[in-house]
């Protein structure tokens, strides 16, 4: 690591333990990985530095993820809208994706990640974009229009309780609570 790397102060460590779902080891590992993303000069003040989105997307955990841009957008608290992440944003992200996060928190953030137009509901366009993310980025790896219609109709039938054509947060959380795969798939561990 070299002499230019600073260590996380102990009060900050225990505060992060209290405010996130991460264990001490996980926070220290996150600190190490985050510092590695910064250029050498900025490594002394890790807690106040911001890493641009392009750097964050080089992490192996996000590199292969089709939702990488949405994840950066949702967790970034940047005022400029450039989706850069500070160390606290990074910890927030890892905390939501950790093993011990409650299913409530996970479903809340999953909703925000899947809400591509940020309007607070999942409508047909959001669902279309979601399915395209899942099946891949090529032209031959998309569902046909008829299949997409059928799929979205089925999804809305299962989850849209008040039949308004969109899925709001409560409906989403309700359908996620009955989904057996969600807890094991919505997980990132460094």
């Amino acid at each position: 690591m070299g002499g230019s790397a600073s260590l996380l102060p102990r009060e900050a460590l225990s505060e992060f333990q209290e405010l996130t779902f991460l264990s001490k080891q996980e926070i220290l590992l996150a600190y190490k990985r985050f510092s590695a993303l910064l250029p050498k000069e900025e490594r002394v003040a890790v807690c106040s530095a911001r890493v641009p989105k392009s750097q964050i997307l080089t992490l192996p955990e996000l590199r292969a993820n089709p939702f990488q841009h949405r994840i950066c957008h949702v967790f970034s608290t940047s005022e400029d809208g450039d989706d850069s992440m500070s160390f606290e944003d990074f910890l927030d992200m890892l905390s939501v994706f950790s093993d011990s996060a409650t299913s409530d928190i996970k479903s809340h953030y999953a909703f925000r990640i899947f809400d591509f137009d940020d309007d607070g509901t999942l409508d047909r366009k959001d669902l279309e974009k979601l399915v395209n993310c899942l099946t891949g980025q090529g032209e031959e790896s998309r569902l046909s229009n008829a299949e997409m219609e059928q799929l979205i109709r089925n999804i809305l039938e299962e989850s849209d309780i008040d039949k308004d054509g969109t899925i709001n947060l409560s409906e989403f959380q309700h359908v996620i609570s009955r989904s057996p795969d969600f807890a094991s798939s919505f997980k990132i561990v460094l």
Partner: protein, 696 residues
């Protein structure tokens, strides 16, 4: 008909919809730095004021939820926590103390959890498998780890309660002693048992043969039932009832396995089944929880995209197929059903063929292995292993036949997979049952009167429990050898062939697929043998633990280097559920042979701790008759009909109550759903009316 938001003119409703209380509360929960809130109609000022007070919704009572469970960024959580701590000052002393003590308790729990995560076996291996192959295959390896732990605990149980006291008392450590009471009222010819422990000079290969078949020097060790020929033991002046301990340890390990498996299946299956839909097949599950966020390898990501596309397309097609099935004419239905009946008859015939060949093989093996002398090494070993070989062949051929036949039966793809799996499970587990049945018919087959006096065939099987233990031991060893051999001699050469030879047929064949269900059936088969065999061979769980430990590494290497993943792997949750259901079926199937051996077949009079009893179970009534009179009456009362019938009726009443309650809840949920739909329609209708009124 759907009142879509697009029906309503664009300008006004956006403003209206954003002022609705439900929308505001969703925004409050999201109280982060999103720009749209500042633009919201009247919400902004009220919103900022509402932020820190958001969680405090019940009068002056501070938020019950700790800061980290709120969906906010760390900076906001910090502010929230400071607010909460400032509010603590206003609490009474008792509540303050409660708060601080619960906080420190939670801290201690976290530390303990962190520590125990270090002790987790194979954490890094499973994590890397998950990153490269997704959660479906990772669930197989987690299952394997669970079985290693289960077998280790069973071994500790049997060792500490059965083997250790026997060794201590036999070797006289701590002033212990042992007593062998010759059973009374038993014909002397039944008690003759002379296991040949390989005295004198023997060839080296005899040791190898003994190691592989459990005879010779292994037969007299603590591995098998015959070693525990102790009727009473004293551990430094305390009497230790070894027969009772042996039986109770058996029941304990069966109960422990049952409870642990049920607990694990409930953990992974916390769903409320109010709607009764198929949870694993729901589209929402596949789309919202479809992507494994833990995948780190771009190749694995590509594979996952493909498999998701394939899965969604197949499911949509299956739905269209259902429509086609419903449209079948009478003639077609008749044709299909008669075809299915024919195929089921063929399946039945295949199964009978398997069972009959196993029965004959066991009979042949039993007849010949007792006659041939030690000079013929190879044929003798082959004869000994004949049942294992036939079972393995049957386990290999039958699934192939089933997967061919199922295509002719014209079921939907999901049902096809399930039915084939169920048939394979049945074949594998029933094969063990047939082997044991065939063994027992030999053991209890009595022609002469002398034999009937003992209750079992004392000439061929003076110590029949050891024989059964040896069969289980041979099955375990052979299973392990087969898994090793298939990986070494089939998978690796195949991989070499595929990488270096580029001719068409070889490339078309390709690498072997890592079939999760086949692998799971393999290890469940081994585990069922372990459960049955532990009663007859108390150290068998240790061997099975080591076997599964090695198999983990074999499978991991085989997966990484020689296999490719299936086009449509099972999902993690349905995999977990399926594994545990099959394991549970294996456990229940293991109860039957054990129950029959313990309670029905006379225990051997020449060896073992149950010499002085008729059957192994008889030690329990014997012990109960030694209890004080009051306790005896209570126990007899519990086991009598006067208690059992009212108890059964009460249980039925409780069950009917819960069924009625569930039905009532279901009706209420349906009514509430309908009400929600009507409310939403009302809302949009009113908005429409208001905008129309506004325009005038």
């Amino acid at each position: 008909e759907l009142w879509l938001p697009e029906d309503v003119p664009a300008a006004a409703p956006a403003g209206f919809l954003q002022q609705l209380p439900s929308y505001q509360s969703a925004l409050r929960r999201r109280a982060g730095g999103s720009r749209e809130q500042r633009a919201g109609a009247q919400g902004a000022a009220g919103l900022r004021a509402a932020e820190p007070r958001g969680p405090e919704q019940h009068g002056g009572e501070p938020a019950a939820r700790p800061a980290r469970e709120q969906p906010l960024s760390i900076a906001e959580k910090r502010r929230l926590r400071d607010c909460q701590q400032a509010d603590i000052k206003y609490l009474s002393g008792w509540k303050q103390w409660k708060r601080t003590s619960s906080k420190s308790f939670k801290k201690v729990l976290n530390e303990a959890k962190e520590f125990s995560s270090y002790l987790e076996l194979w954490r890094r291996d499973i994590h890397s498998i998950e990153g490269k192959f997704g959660t479906g295959i990772q669930s197989y390896f987690s299952f394997l780890r669970f079985l290693v732990l289960l077998n280790f605990i069973i071994f500790l149980l049997m060792f500490s309660f059965v083997t250790l006291p026997s060794i201590i008392s036999k070797y006289g450590i701590f002033n212990s002693s042992v007593a062998k009471i010759l059973p009374k009222n038993i014909e002397p010819h039944c008690t003759v048992y002379k296991p040949s422990g390989n005295e004198g000079l023997v060839y080296f290969y005899t040791y190898l043969k003994d190691l592989l078949s459990g005879t010779g020097f292994l037969e007299v060790t603590s591995l098998f039932y015959g070693y525990y020929t102790i009727d009473a033991a004293w551990l430094s002046a305390m009497r230790y009832n070894l027969p009772l301990a042996y039986l109770l340890a058996t029941f304990a390990y069966l109960a422990l396995s049952l409870i642990w498996i049920i607990k694990r299946s409930v953990d992974g299956f916390k769903q409320n089944l109010v709607h009764g839909e198929d949870q694993f097949q729901s589209y929402c599950n596949k789309v919202f929880a479809g992507w494994d966020f833990c995948i780190t390898d771009p190749n694995a990501a590509r594979l996952k995209h493909r498999s998701l596309l394939y899965e969604l397309q197949t499911d949509l097609e299956e739905e269209r197929l259902k429509q086609k099935i419903a449209d079948r004419t009478m003639k077609e239905k008749l044709h299909i059903y008669s075809l299915r009946i024919c195929i089921n008859i063929i399946v039945f015939a295949v199964l009978s063929g398997c069972f009959y060949s196993i029965y004959r093989a066991t009979a042949f093996s039993q007849e010949n292995s007792n006659d041939v002398s030690d000079t013929n090494f190879q044929p003798n070993l082959l004869v000994q292993y004949l049942p294992s070989i036939v079972i393995t062949l049957a386990n290999f051929i039958a699934p192939l036949i089933f997967s061919f036949l199922i295509r002719l039966e014209d079921y939907s793809p999901a049902f096809e997979i399930r039915l084939t799996l169920m048939r394979c499970v049945f074949v594998r587990l029933a094969n063990i049952g047939v082997l044991l049945f065939s063994l027992w018919s030999h053991i209890s087959g009595c022609a002469t009167d002398k034999c009937k006096a003992c209750g079992y065939n004392y000439e061929l099987y003076p110590c029949w429990e050891s024989e059964v233990g040896q069969e289980m031991y041979k099955l375990t060893i052979f299973d392990f050898i087969i898994i090793l051999a298939v990986t070494l001699f089939l998978d690796f050469p195949r991989k070499l062939l595929v990488t270096h030879c580029s001719c068409k047929p070889v490339q078309w064949c390709g690498l072997r697929e890592f079939g999760i269900s086949d692998n799971v059936l393999e290890i469940v088969y081994g585990q069922t043998i372990c459960w049955i065999g532990t009663f007859f061979s108390p150290l068998l769980p240790a061997i099975v633990t080591i076997k599964y430990f090695i198999i983990f590494y074999i499978k991991k290497i085989s997966l990484m280097h020689t296999c490719k993943t299936a086009a449509r792997p099972l999902r993690a949750s349905s995999s977990n559920f399926f594994f545990l259901v099959v394991l549970l079926i294996g456990l229940v199937l293991a109860f039957i042979p054990l129950g029959i051996s313990i309670a029905h077949i006379s225990s051997s009079k020449a060896c073992g701790p149950f010499r002085s009893f008729n059957t192994s179970w008889a030690v329990v009534p014997d012990t109960v008759s030694g209890f004080p009179a009051g306790l005896q009456q209570v126990l007899h009362g519990i086991a009598s009909e006067a208690f059992a019938v009212p108890f059964f009726m009460v249980i039925c009443l409780v069950m009917f109550y819960f069924i009625a309650l569930a039905g009532a809840h279901k009706r209420v949920v349906e009514q509430l759903r309908e009400q929600l739909v009507m409310e939403s329609r009302d809302k949009l209708f009113l908005i429409r009316k208001i905008t129309e009124a506004q325009r005038h």
